[in-house]
């Protein structure tokens, strides 16, 4: 009898938690250390921080471990943790021109100001499953770690090709200089909206829309992009990418006593500029327009989708529903929380639904007795006829 019989919900929950706890501790495998996640599963850790809206590599690793690798669950743990923390101060807005690139590509031109820097990427590595010997791999990893410890300055992992200031000029700067880009820098949204402190809805400023996308579920943004490119929505053009950068962004806060900027640390971010050739009747065909994407961590597909959606939203003027789709349907916690609530008991609502089905039948039978038909007769299949039972007795 399902839920009705499930008395003692507290005991049942405690037992379920004990099962989870036991298999986490006693998984017939060695304990999962946090550095395994922060150093070896970087994309996973970055994604959880981005969707969790909190830059904290160690906490993200804890969340991933606790959530047994469920990305959205881990992002939820981070966000629920953050929402219990006090807000101590506001950061000084970071200037993306200060992002120290670890990787930078400009697909729009072969030769650009500054380098085309592949950096740490899997893009051009053949997708061949590594079936190498585990022991050899382990030995090679240990040797590499030992070598890196002896000569930390040679560590190729993070710093390969990393640029030093002054950082390369943006392609957008070149386009602006040559009067090829529409300038849509504006000053009517000066204070960035903190989306964790307001209920966003259509009509809210661009800073909020960008924040929503930066915190959105990666798959949701990619899907929204793709269904607009290929599917029926058709609110997007395919863009040319001006910049794809991954690098370290300095984070500063104003000193409470002196008022001077103080460096707190760095976070890694992915930045994308998407160049769009707008072709609307009221749009400037002699120039390009640009959409912007910036997300925490290394997550290029999310940043590209964001930049393309940003420019699409700009030209859309809130007409098509795309803005509502971005604002209201891309949050991973919202979508999966609501989807999974279907697992909760619904027997009150279901009883009410069955009652209406019976009410319709009663009404129909009454009308048929009176020889009246106020509404189209239903198509009754033999199976449905068999299923028809007197009111009050419903087969499961």
């Amino acid at each position: 009898m399902g839920y009705v019989a499930a008395r003692g919900g507290t005991e049942a929950i405690a037992a379920a938690e004990e099962l989870v706890r036991r298999s986490r501790l006693n998984a017939d495998a060695s304990w999962l250390e946090l550095d395994q996640l922060t150093e070896r599963l970087r994309y996973l850790n970055d994604r959880v921080m981005g969707e969790g809206g909190l830059w904290a590599p160690q906490l993200a690793a804890r969340a991933i471990r606790q959530a047994e690798g469920d990305v959205i669950e881990a992002a939820h743990l981070l966000r629920a943790h953050r929402s219990t923390l006090p807000r101590l101060c506001e950061l000084i807005p970071a200037d993306a021109d200060e992002l120290r690139p670890l990787r930078r590509i400009v697909p729009a031109f072969r030769e650009v100001p500054g380098p085309q820097l592949l950096g740490r990427t899997l893009d051009y590595t053949g997708r061949l499953l590594d079936l190498g010997d585990e022991d050899q791999a382990r030995a090679a990893a240990a040797a590499a770690t030992a070598a890196a410890a002896r000569h930390p300055e040679d560590d190729p992992a993070e710093n390969a090709g990393a640029t030093e200031p002054p950082f390369p000029e943006r392609l957008l700067d070149v386009l602006r200089r040559t009067d090829l880009a529409v300038d849509r820098r504006r000053d009517d949204d000066p204070e960035p909206t903190d989306i964790s402190q307001v209920a966003v809805r259509p009509g809210i400023g661009r800073s909020a829309v960008l924040s929503v996308m930066a915190r959105a579920e990666t798959g949701a943004l990619v899907n929204l992009w793709y269904r607009n490119i290929l599917g029926p929505d058709n609110h997007l053009h395919e863009v040319t990418l001006g910049e794809v950068r991954h690098g370290e962004l300095p984070i500063r806060v104003r000193h409470p006593r002196t008022g001077n900027p103080v460096l707190l640390g760095h976070l890694r971010a992915t930045e994308v500029e998407a160049i769009e050739d707008l072709d609307g009747a009221d749009e400037d065909r002699t120039r390009f327009d640009v959409g912007y994407g910036l997300v925490a961590g290394h997550n290029e597909r999310k940043a590209i989708a964001m930049a393309n959606l940003d420019i699409a939203l700009h030209r859309d003027h809130s007409d098509s529903g795309l803005e509502q789709s971005v604002l209201m349907t891309t949050d991973g916690l919202d979508a999966s929380g609501f989807l999974e609530h279907l697992k909760l008991p619904h027997y009150v609502t279901f009883r009410s639904m069955i009652e209406r089905k019976q009410a319709m039948r009663t009404d129909r039978a009454r009308n048929e007795r009176k020889g009246r038909r106020h509404h189209p007769a239903p198509v009754v299949t033999p199976a449905a006829e068999q299923a028809a039972v007197p009111a009050g007795e419903v087969t499961p």
Binding site: A80, A199, L333, E340, R351, S352, M353, T395
Partner: protein
């Protein structure tokens, strides 16, 4: 703690009491209380609020939980039900969270609670003017079935333009012979705003109408709070010649306490226990049913 105490760092001061197990800080509580006050002042109007991230999934009672946590004080006693049941897993989980993080007392008896948090039901016992009912709301927008655009929805509510809602009810009636809306039946509150009655059954709607208690509706995922203040009209939308119908099934009565049978003299909202040789019925409000049994009201 004082600002002059040199042993306490400014950061610790700002961070306030880090030993607290509370899920909401005082600023968050204040914001929610303000939204609640606005909601009480404008019955049926959906007040936006920031909606904090809770340790329960969105869609699992995060809105109701935030209201309860913002209102609860040391003198309060909380009852939590899901489908009318205190022992359901979701009710148990939320009750545990509320009790563990606030230290508040809990009860299963509706009459003993100062705050009743619920999903999908209103208790069978009438609540008094010293009690608050907190309903968990999955979808706060009653007009979503006829309009999706949020800007247009705001206009419709602002102008009291519910024409399309009436048309959809009329079409339903013409097509199906009865109004087929099941739970979450749309109601006009205080003669002004159409409100989604969460998915509570139609059975429970008369219990909101001109009731002594305050009803607060929290939608955490959609970041809205709305309210039915005491003694406020809650009128289900229906036509003059089409009476509003609550859930009743002929011949059904609770197999435990007999509620619903002619000689019991009382009715309650029943849910079905399907069986191979015809279903049995049981009260959805388990505590109400248990009390009827233990008080000897029922001849067994």
């Amino acid at each position: 703690m004082t600002l002059l105490d040199p042993t306490i760092s400014p950061v610790a001061l700002l961070a306030a009491d880090t030993s607290s197990r509370e899920l909401l800080d005082e600023f968050s509580k204040r914001e929610i209380r303000r939204a609640v006050l606005t909601a009480v002042a404008v019955p049926g109007y959906q007040v936006p609020f920031a909606s904090r991230e809770m340790p329960v999934a969105r869609g699992w009672g995060s809105g109701g939980l935030q209201i309860t946590l913002a209102l609860v004080g040391p003198e309060d006693t909380v009852k939590v039900i899901d489908q009318g049941e205190d022992a359901g897993v979701n009710a148990a989980n939320l009750r545990r969270l509320i009790a563990d993080t606030t230290g508040v007392d809990t009860t299963t008896v509706a009459g003993e609670a100062t705050i009743v948090q619920t999903r999908h039901r209103v208790p069978e016992d009438a609540l008094g003017d010293d009690q608050i009912l907190v309903l968990q709301v999955p979808v706060p927008e009653p007009l979503r079935g006829v309009e999706r655009d949020m800007t247009e929805l705001r206009r419709m509510h602002a102008e009291g333009d519910y024409a399309r809602m009436w048309v959809s009810l009329y079409e339903d009636l013409v097509r199906n012979g009865v109004i087929t809306q099941t739970t979450g039946y749309p109601c006009l509150v205080g003669g002004r705003y159409v409100m989604a009655t969460t998915p509570i059954p139609r059975w429970d709607i008369p219990k909101l109408h001109r009731s002594a208690h305050l009803s607060l509706f929290g939608a955490g995922r959609e970041k809205r709070i709305y309210a039915v203040p005491p003694h406020t009209d809650v009128e289900p939308l229906t036509f003059d010649d089409v009476p509003f119908e609550v859930e009743r099934t002929e011949g059904a009565s609770c197999h435990r306490c007999g509620a619903g049978s002619p000689d019991s003299g009382v009715e309650s909202f029943l849910v079905e226990l399907p069986g191979t040789e015809g279903g049995r019925w049981v009260c959805s409000d388990t505590d109400w049913c248990n009390r009827r049994l233990s008080s000897g009201m029922v001849a067994r």
